[in-house]
Symmetry: C2
Subunit: 140 residues, 2 copies
DNA sequence: TTAGTATATTCGTCTAACTCGAAGTCAAGA
DNA sequence: TCTTGACTTCGAGTTAGACGAATATACTAA
């Protein structure tokens, strides 16, 4: 099964621009037809699924290229790919912790405003909220 | 207590570039001395603490400006600021869910490579790992 | 007075990962 | 033949700064 840029963009939930961008960056092999048009197949779908996941995980295009190149080299690079993923796993755990902190901070802020609205805190007791956002700090 | 760009940058853990950028974007009031140099005080520290937190929460400069402008208008805008924070709270919760998914995905990937390395999965049973990253998809 | 040092200022360019639009190419259909 | 639609490349815009250069000001030492 062959796909055009438009078809694979639709199938993968990416824009045509993004598809072209990825192929221009040589993230994965991409053939051309006699009219110089990009031609994709089911293998391309596989590549794009993986790339999409890695992007969603916050991996940069540069690092994705490194990883994809390792994949292209075959089984010899499995230990390297393992290391790559271990590193990404660490990064993911750190981001998860940060996201948790941010969520806590927002919960605090919302609660804070709700207390003010319920008049539990008289205005003159929390002057900072009047003119600066600097209440309940230190996140990230 | 007054601070120069350099002093407040150091105090806040931001670069001088960033401080200048924030003042150029009019995120918060900033005075100038007779030599046109930026002058900061303890109120500025308050502003910057709040701004830093919001950035760490992934809030865009544009939205931070909206929020800071509301703060400058005083207590009348407390309901609006409450709404703003409710929205940010939702976004934070969504990002937390995503971060959790990403972490799970990475755990899966690492385990996958470790199984291959332990020879629990013969190579010819998982051909996709040889040439594409598309194994264990759908994140984000 | 002069030079050096340490700041500060603005301006302009660079980045990532797209996003968007323009201008041109190409084949198929009415 | 003309139009449509999809494709091509190229160049510029985006965000939130990072960074360097040229310039200006003030303080200090010789």
């Amino acid at each position: 099964m062959n796909y055009s840029v438009k078809e694979i963009a639709e199938k993968m939930g990416l824009t045509e621009h993004t598809i072209r961008y990825y192929t221009d960056q040589n993230l994965f092999p991409c053939k051309r037809d006699s009219n110089n048009r990009r031609v994709f197949d089911d293998q391309s779908v596989n590549w794009l699924q993986g790339i999409k996941c890695l992007r969603a995980c916050g991996v940069s295009i540069e690092d994705i290229k490194i990883y994809c190149d390792l994949c292209l080299e075959g089984d010899v690079t499995i230990p390297e790919r393992h290391q790559f993923m271990l590193h990404q796993q660490e990064l993911a755990q750190e981001r998860l912790r940060e996201a948790q902190e941010v969520a806590n901070y927002m919960d605090y802020k919302v609660k804070h405003y709700e207390e003010i609205l319920a008049n539990k805190i008289p205005d003159d007791m929390n002057p900072a909220t009047k003119e600066t956002p600097g209440v309940g700090k230190q996140v990230g």
